[in-house]
């Protein structure tokens, strides 16, 4: 078989498409295969938070770099993606949580993130919409938001304008080596390329297994609840220090309530659904933190899949033993990180190296269980 060029990306979510964007900018021929519709899984159903404060420490520098891309998204993807520098408040409601918040505050400050601390009445002076239940809060001006629903069409258009071919409804049936190339078969077609990137989020584990890598991916079924548009009450994005709540009021006045409360679903059937009690706990917590919500109407709830690694850090790097095969998936915060992780991955694939080490995210770190 003739050696070929080009890259096949499996997965047209945010990570796969940003990687494609950066590859295509370097002149690479890219084909993206998605088993369903692009940007429709985690990338399409998240609540749009772009936060620094709530990231695990190893991800902080990546987040800071990613936010620079987000700030210039208008240039990057040619459209307004609803990016807004709301600032973010990370909150604590009891002694244990305050201690936890303080620890995180210290660690992040040491890592160079500029944070402000508020306690007691100062919290309400800073953010009048927060209830007295909030005992302490740390503020970060770099926490912001964007709109997944606006990113999706813009990103798709941008990569297609760059010559990337996107094939929806194309589930991968097999991956074979053909000399130095990869031959990927979907139901209808065969795609041949020099390089392969698995960016299939929650579905990445079986794909990597085909390439000889054990890469455990657990399934989260996250829920979001949305209210009717209301008069402006919240300015900052609010996240709970224990990660059990995210709350924001977006540009059109609707509130988005999230936080990782689990719905029901499984990958095999693709079934996903809101879990009644779990979603009510989520909403109740939100109303305890921002009482204004109690007089709002609930408009919509939904559930979405997210693939996660055991340490909640991304899988990003070469697949050992499979030359020219790479993975970029399960970033937990992937939506924020995608522009920068995508860029780093493109660099790794085309140049063989990155500016900042991806070693912590090496895909084989759980290969031996």
């Amino acid at each position: 078989m003739q050696p070929s060029n080009g890259t096949t990306v499996i997965g047209a979510g945010s990570l796969g498409l940003f990687a494609s964007l950066w590859l295509a900018r370097r002149g690479e021929r890219v084909t993206v295969l998605d088993k369903g519709t692009p940007m429709r899984e985690a990338s399409g159903v998240n609540a749009g938070s772009l936060g620094v404060q709530n990231k695990l420490l190893p991800l902080v520098p990546w987040t800071v770099a990613a936010l620079e891309h987000w700030a210039t998204a208008q240039d990057l993807v040619g459209a307004d993606v609803g990016f807004s520098r709301t600032g973010g408040l990370r909150i604590a409601t009891d002694e244990r949580e305050v201690a936890l918040l303080r620890t995180g505050f210290q660690a992040q400050s040491d890592a160079g993130i500029k944070l402000e601390w508020f306690e007691g009445d100062e919290v309400r002076a800073r953010a009048p919409y927060l209830s007295p239940d909030v005992r302490a809060a740390s503020y970060c001006a770099s926490d912001c938001v964007a709109d997944p629903l606006r990113l999706a069409p813009a990103l798709l258009r941008t990569v297609q304008d760059l010559g990337v071919t996107i094939k929806p409804s194309s589930e991968v049936q097999s991956i074979e080596r053909c000399g130095e190339s990869f031959l990927v078969r979907t139901g209808d077609e065969e795609v041949v390329s020099r390089r392969l990137l698995v960016a299939a989020g929650a579905w990445s584990q079986p794909l990597c297994a085909r390439l000889g890598l054990h890469m455990p991916v657990a399934l989260d079924v996250n829920m979001v609840s949305v209210t009717e548009p209301r008069q402006r009450a919240m300015t900052e994005v609010v996240t709970h220090v224990r990660g059990i709540l995210t709350l924001k009021q977006v540009a059109n006045g609707t509130f988005l309530i999230g936080g990782g409360w689990q719905g029901v679903g499984d990958l095999k059937s693709g079934h996903k659904d809101v879990a009644y009690e779990s979603s009510l706990h989520n909403i109740r917590l939100a109303t305890r933190i921002v009482p204004e919500l109690k007089s709002a109407m609930l408009v919509r709830q939904w559930a979405g899949f997210e693939g996660v690694s055991p340490d909640s850090l991304p899988y990003a790097g070469r697949i050992p033993g499979a030359e020219n095969a790479y993975v970029l998936a399960c970033a937990r915060g992937g939506w924020t990180l995608a522009p920068e992780l995508g860029r780093a991955m493109a660099g790794l694939m085309l140049d063989g190296r990155t500016d900042v080490s991806l070693d912590r995210f090496r895909p084989e770190r759980y290969a031996n269980g």
């Binding site: 695990l56 991800l59 629903l149 109303t287 609930l298 408009v299």
Partner: protein, 474 residues
């Protein structure tokens, strides 16, 4: 009270729901009837506030005798009734989540009869969002439910039998109906459809009565015409009417009507099928039935076991069919529960329904149009909640090759408070015709809540201890 148990839950206290409750209680089966309105009756049997007194000479066009007869079902000891109660989800089979003004919980019922009714189908045209332009159902609700008319100089326009009902009701209430503008040609088509229409003879009689009354009042009944524009600054002031050409599209020339208080528009009804879509029922798109409806067995059971669908909410058919379906499903449930005499009654009712069924298609044929009506222009708002114009929709649709989800994300059509009830159908049609894309009628699955509910209703129900998400960063 946040946990309610009942053998049968009836969702909707309009004709179909009331008929179901009556039949259930006659067979000794207890039920709970819930309705999101403050008063029972739905649209067709809509009642005035209790404090209003109706004199014998009241000029109200309504089916009051029958309304009171069916409403009395709610007084039966076996029937419990909760007004102001919205059922918004079915977390598991037999468990129905409900929300009231500031409380809520779960109803546990082995069987459910969903009689959610219908709403006015949208038909955008320039000026349709002006205050003073109201839907046919909205006009009838004012008359029957508030003893008022929307105006004293009214133009009635649309396509379908409702315009006749509206015009007659307005006339009876003393308003001047300047004209009835009917897009179809029922006078011509009714003859061929007569055999089917006669399956429900009452309707023919009523139609004749209404037409005669309008004739006597000197109200022009103009067929093959449409209102092409409603105009005014902060409210309706006048309308323009144009005849349809041979291709079924509005001609350029128009006839003005000035000093119009109210324009009532009725372009048909659409079944309120949200609940079925939220619980994942198998759905199908049926033009005669008015849109997306649940697939039903001969007993009117949906693909969600134990959940029955009746009345206009399961497919437009009018009050006579709604009453039969409500009773039929109730008898079917009673038969399932082994109640003596229920099975033969069920069979009798379903036989009646089968005889009446051709009425639907005949009514549809009577009012059929040459071609789908396209009255919106570039600047017309096609999604009212999110203020999306036809131009914006078409431009966005073309830029995404008709991918309906992307168009939805980019324009936010159907994402506002009404959740697409006033725009989804027309917007999908616009996207399809602008791009040639094949747009599926709608993803059958819809997310909860089936209707908007107050968050205050979700705060008090006792829940199991929470299983909090793992403490991780996001």
């Amino acid at each position: 009270m946040s946990r309610i148990e009942t053998p049968v839950l009836v969702i909707g206290a309009g004709p179909a729901g009331l008929a179901a409750a009556r039949t259930l209680s006659r067979f000794g089966v207890a039920c709970l009837v819930v309705d999101d309105n403050a008063r029972a009756g739905g649209q067709y049997f809509r009642q005035l506030p209790a404090s209003f007194k109706v004199r014998p000479d009241a000029r109200l066009a309504r089916d009051q005798q029958r309304a009171e007869d069916y409403l009395s079902a709610l007084s039966d000891p076996l029937v419990k009734y909760r007004p102001g109660c919205t059922v918004w989800s079915m977390p598991e089979p037999g468990v129905f989540a409900f929300a009231e003004e500031s409380s809520g919980g779960r109803i546990l019922a082995e069987h459910a009869i969903v009689a959610a009714g219908a709403s006015d189908a949208p038909r955008p045209f320039p000026g349709w969002t002006l205050p003073g332009v109201i839907a046919a159902g909205g006009c009838l609700n004012l008359i029957k439910g508030q003893a008022m008319v929307p105006g004293r100089r009214v133009v009635v326009a649309g396509n379908g039998p409702l315009t006749l009902v509206v015009a007659y009701s307005l006339r009876m209430a003393g308003s001047e109906v300047l004209a009835v503008i009917e897009a179809g040609r029922p006078s011509r088509h009714a003859w061929a459809a007569l055999p089917g229409l006669l399956r429900i003879p009452k309707v023919i009689g009523l139609a004749a009565k209404y037409r005669l009354a309008l004739l006597r009042a000197g109200t022009p009944f103009i067929e093959g015409s449409v209102v092409t524009r409603a105009h005014g600054s902060d409210r309706l002031q006048g309308v323009e009417v144009s005849p349809l050409d041979a291709r079924g599209q509005p001609q350029q020339k128009s006839q003005p009507f000035d000093d119009v208080d109210a324009l009532v528009i009725g372009y048909g009804l659409a079944p309120s099928s949200e609940f079925f879509r939220v619980i994942g029922c198998e759905m199908r798109d049926d033009e005669v039935l008015g849109g997306l409806v649940p697939v039903r067995s001969g007993d009117l059971e949906t693909s969600a076991g134990g959940v029955y669908a009746v009345g206009d909410g399961a497919g437009i058919g009018g009050v006579e069919i709604a009453l039969l379906e409500g009773s039929g499903a109730a008898a079917a449930i009673a038969a399932r529960r082994g109640v003596d005499g229920a099975a033969p009654e069920r069979d009798r009712l379903f036989a009646k329904l089968r005889r009446a069924e051709p009425f639907r298609a005949s009514l549809h044929r009577t009012y059929r149009l040459q071609a789908p009506l396209d009255l919106a222009t570039t600047e017309t708002i096609v999604c009212r909640c999110e203020e999306v114009t036809q131009q914006q929709l078409v431009t966005t649709a073309r830029s995404f090759n008709g991918d309906i989800e992307l168009v939805k994300f980019a324009t936010r059509f159907s994402m506002g408070r009404c959740q697409g009830r006033n725009c989804a159908r027309t917007c999908r049609a616009i996207v399809a015709s602008a791009t040639g894309a094949v747009v599926p009628p709608s993803a059958p699955r819809m997310r909860p809540p089936a209707r908007l509910i107050p968050i205050s209703a979700l705060l008090d129900e006792p829940l199991l201890p929470p299983r909090e998400p793992d403490q991780v960063s996001l």
